[in-house]
Subunit: 225 residues, 2 copies
DNA sequence: GACTTTATAGCACTCGATGCCAAAATGGAA
DNA sequence: TTCCATTTTGGCATCGAGTGCTATAAAGTC
């Protein structure tokens, strides 16, 4: 609680000595309490006033920490985009394009055991509550842009061209499928789901290979090239 | 203007003689005027009051024709879902799965020359305005379910399994990419865009073949298997 | 003309979100 | 200490989307 001085905004070096009134809370603290309310009473039934009251801040102040109620569920998504871009850009030039994408997506979606529970709550909400499903499209668009930039860098042309866009949005679809399945099923192997799905995508969703997937354990899926 | 009696709701046989007060407008008429305002002043800057005023109805009545401002842009999307399902289900069993998907998507997205202008406005808005991008996720989820049902029918298992979900969401991504590119570029060949993109998806986004796409006319794209 | 049915207009209300401004809290300088 | 610059906060007013409720208008039927 008595941390030296908390940064409310996104990254940014705390080089200068802090002046002015201290922030009365943090994004993380708000998210914790809000997710709690969402889980208990539902996302739609929880008003911003209730969240603000729970945190002990005013309604107006809430909107200074999160620009919308939906953003709370998304947490620090921007940071993950940076990681994804780094992963894609740092791949060797001779590595096949779709391999790079698969590895990058898998790498940016490794989570510690401690994070998995909260992640499952977040992903459950995101893929269930209509308002959040809707909002996800906006956030995922940014994700797509990162992938499209990478693909355009590989095959030439603009990231807005059909090729890069098709690859990026299909990759997104594949990742979403893996996440949604992981969030609602009993599987603990998120990495395996993502990796396997992207191997299928890379090879073009062969009907026979898909058939092999049904009722197979994740381990056997990874064997397919 | 003096049509016999217009149906405001979705399909539904007008078997009975119409009783009660006549609807003062139609969904299509509202959409026409609303899209006009969206194009001129922007989607967000256009209020429901303005649309209602333009149509000559009250704000409250607007919401009886469309359940939200966003829905106006989507028009009659439900009907297209039915067509898609029909296309998928009526395909011969021995036709390769991804061929069926491609043909079905192409078939459900053929439009007459008269419709193309309005469609371009719609798709431009849908893939540009954040509020509509968001809403699209909800509508597209229904689209995905149709495809996932078909894939599950082919390869076995549940539509909620990773395989069907990955195929469905990737197909959606591919279709979205084709539409977005067509909406913002000069190309008139929507069918070619969709068909070409799905051929790429079916084969797994081969890097070399993607490279051939850059700065190529649509006709040459279709030659690739 | 009375009755039923359907569509409409208008009002009140909730809730998310934004702009504006005054007040509180903090550190530094006079 | 006092004044000042800086930053956060809270309250207020406001807008706009969306919903529930009710009275009324328009149409057909008996």
């Amino acid at each position: 609680m008595g941390a030296d001085r908390v940064e409310a905004g996104v990254g940014g070096a705390a080089s200068e000595v802090a002046r002015g009134r201290r922030p009365s809370t943090t994004r993380a603290a708000i998210a914790r309490l809000a997710l709690d309310l969402f889980e208990r009473n539902g996302f739609d039934a929880t008003t911003v006033d209730e969240i603000a009251a729970a945190v002990g801040i005013s309604r107006r102040t809430f909107f200074r920490y999160y620009s919308s109620k939906r953003d709370v569920v998304w947490g620090e998504f921007d940071a993950e985009l940076v990681r994804l871009r780094d992963q894609l850009m740092s791949a060797p030039q001779d590595e096949p394009m779709m391999d790079v994408v698969r590895r990058a997506v898998v790498a940016t979606n490794r989570f510690g055991a401690g994070e998995l529970d909260e992640l499952r709550i977040r992903m459950g909400l995101i893929s269930t509550v209509p308002a959040l499903v809707a909002h996800s499209a906006v956030r995922y668009t940014e994700w797509c842009e990162v992938v499209a930039d990478f693909v355009a860098g590989r095959v030439g042309g603009s990231p807005d061209d059909l090729g890069p866009q098709a690859v990026a949005r299909s990759a997104l679809g594949t990742a979403m499928a893996a996440f949604a399945c992981w969030a609602q099923h009993e599987t603990d192997d998120l990495t395996g789901e993502v990796d396997g799905a992207f191997r299928l995508l890379a090879d073009g969703f062969d009907e026979d290979r898909l058939r092999l997937w049904v009722h197979r354990d994740p381990a056997s899926r990874m064997s397919g090239a």
